[in-house]
């Protein structure tokens, strides 16, 4: 990622303004609010949505589904990924499932899942099938990258199983866990909303989008899309903030150590 200087910030803002300008001119040229409403129309639809009562229910239901599938993906993906990293046979046994998950179009997973499950479960199931391989592959690869040298050292110096996990395996896997979690998180939002659009459960951002589309409320579809984008962005921001926590904690601990041992 480029370093955030004043120049890059200006370019980003200008590019955003350009996009909005193209959008605005496009909608003026088309002159049909049903096909492409103006940005200001979309924005006022967005404001209306924010004042609209069931917003929080729809939002919270979607966020809940996304978080639930995210947690399931991270847990199952890490555990199975670690096992697969250490046991090649287990990894081989999971290969067909992984290849299948990667090859099947999202929409067929959602449609099939809708035949099998209730509409509330479909987003969870589909998100899991889409996100799990991403997490799994990252963690499995992470296990392969654990330093052979450090492993040997930990055996030589009789590390307990607990210390080996806490001081060797988890710290070594952290970068892979973060990459996998981040990639599956952004995927989860998209799949959950797509599944909601197709299956229309009672509440959910996707259900609202679908209803707005049926009613040809294009501005509202765009407003819900804006909400989906904001959700993804907020998810990313919270995720990064969460990652900073242990670092902050360590810094505090180091400061404490230095106070106690009189090192400045």
């Amino acid at each position: 990622m480029p370093r955030s200087t004043l120049a890059t910030k200006v370019v980003v803002v200008l590019s955003l303004l350009l996009l909005l300008g193209v959008w605005h001119i496009g909608s003026l040229v088309l002159d049909a609010q049903v096909i492409l409403p103006t940005p200001s129309k979309t924005f006022s639809a967005f404001i209306t949505l924010l004042q609209y009562k069931p917003l929080s229910v729809n939002l919270l239901t979607t966020v809940g589904r996304a978080l639930k599938s995210f947690l399931i993906i991270v847990t199952v993906g890490s555990v199975l990924g670690i096992i697969a990293g250490y046991k090649p046979l287990f990894s081989a046994a999971l290969q067909p499932l992984l290849v299948m998950c990667k090859a099947i179009p999202v929409m067929s997973i959602i449609l099939l899942a809708f035949i099998w499950f209730s509409s509330g479960t479909v987003p969870l199931f589909s998100a899991f099938l889409m996100g799990f391989p991403v997490m799994f592959v990252q963690v499995e690869e992470g296990v392969r990258l654990i330093s052979e040298d450090l492993s040997e050292m930990s055996h030589m110096y009789h590390f307990s199983q607990k210390d080996r996990i806490m001081h060797l395996i988890i710290p070594s896997l952290t970068p892979s866990l973060i990459t996998g979690a981040k990639a599956s998180l952004s995927m989860v939002w998209k799949v959950v909303i797509a599944a909601e659009v197709l299956t229309v459960p009672r509440y959910g951002v996707g259900s609202r989008m679908q209803l707005a589309q049926i009613n040809l409320e294009t501005a509202e579809v765009l407003a819900w899309t804006l909400i989906a984008i904001l959700l993804t962005a907020l998810g990313d921001v919270l995720f990064i903030a969460m990652l900073q926590l242990p670092k902050r904690f360590r810094e505090l601990k180091t400061k404490h150590f230095e106070r106690v041992h009189g090192h400045s």
Binding site: D149, L150, E152, M153, H155, M156, Y157, H158, F159, S160, D163, H167, L168, P171, T254, F257, E258, H261, H263
Partner: protein, 237 residues
């Protein structure tokens, strides 16, 4: 420690490569034995077999009752946990032998001070220089309650001045805390300055060519001392 008829082969590209065959050696207890031999002669393999890092094809290693137990291993690289502090790196190897945390930290700090790094106890390995990292590895090897220490050219990657200060640090720690040390190197001078006995090894298959017991105390040894120089020059004959 007595090594009896040790053999080990590796499979390389489908072909069997005999690295050690029927190698025997007696290693004196609580003394430093240096094994000097050309690179690729099988020294490291021997050390790895003794340390239990590789399985033995045939032969065995006999330890007396005082030598049985865990072993320390000083690798060519420091092999420190990069995400843990100097203190934690040393403290971790004491977890099995000292159950109380306070005592453990105290003991770890003692060894860290002995290698002159007490000010750096809270630092991470990547904040230290290469020589400092190897000092931490030395502190860790001595902190571990091992009866036998295996050294696989741990000073090799450092420049000569730094290297000498680390050898000194090692000797100081060892004098306070004697154990059986088996030390492999291809630096003859270092071996003669450090060891109680220097063993000259041949090319593969590795054999003991000659043994040089050194009776002089370590503080008297100097390359300028004629007696020591004589001993040292014998090695090349």
């Amino acid at each position: 420690m007595v090594i009896h008829n040790l053999s080990k082969h590796y499979m390389v590209d489908g072909e069997s490569l005999m690295v050690l065959s029927d190698f025997s050696l007696e290693v004196e207890q609580d003394a430093i034995t240096a094994l000097v031999g050309p690179s690729g002669c099988g020294k490291t393999t021997l050390l790895r077999l003794i340390g239990g890092l590789e399985s033995i094809d045939s032969g065995y290693i006999e330890l007396n009752d005082q030598e049985k137990g865990p072993m320390s291993y000083l690798f060519q690289e420091p092999r420190l946990l990069p995400w843990d502090s100097v203190l934690t790196n040393v403290e971790l190897v004491l977890r099995e032998s000292i159950p109380t945390k306070k005592e453990r930290i105290q003991r770890a700090m003692e060894f860290i001070s002995l290698v002159g790094l007490e000010e750096y106890a809270s630092f991470k390995p990547d904040q230290l220089s290469g020589g400092m990292r190897q000092r931490v590895a030395i502190a860790r090897a001595f902190a571990f309650p091992a009866k036998i220490m295996l050294l696989d050219e741990p000073f090799q990657s450092l420049d000569s001045l730094l290297r000498w200060s680390l050898v000194q640090a090692f000797i100081t720690l060892w004098e306070k805390n004697k154990r059986t040390v088996l030390y492999i190197t291809h630096d003859v001078q270092e071996a003669f300055l450090m060891a109680d006995r220097v063993v000259k090894l041949s090319h593969r298959p590795m054999r003991v060519l000659k043994e040089y017991p050194i009776m002089m105390s370590r503080s008297e040894r100097s390359l300028r001392d004629p007696q020591f120089a004589e001993l040292f020059s014998q090695f090349y004959q």
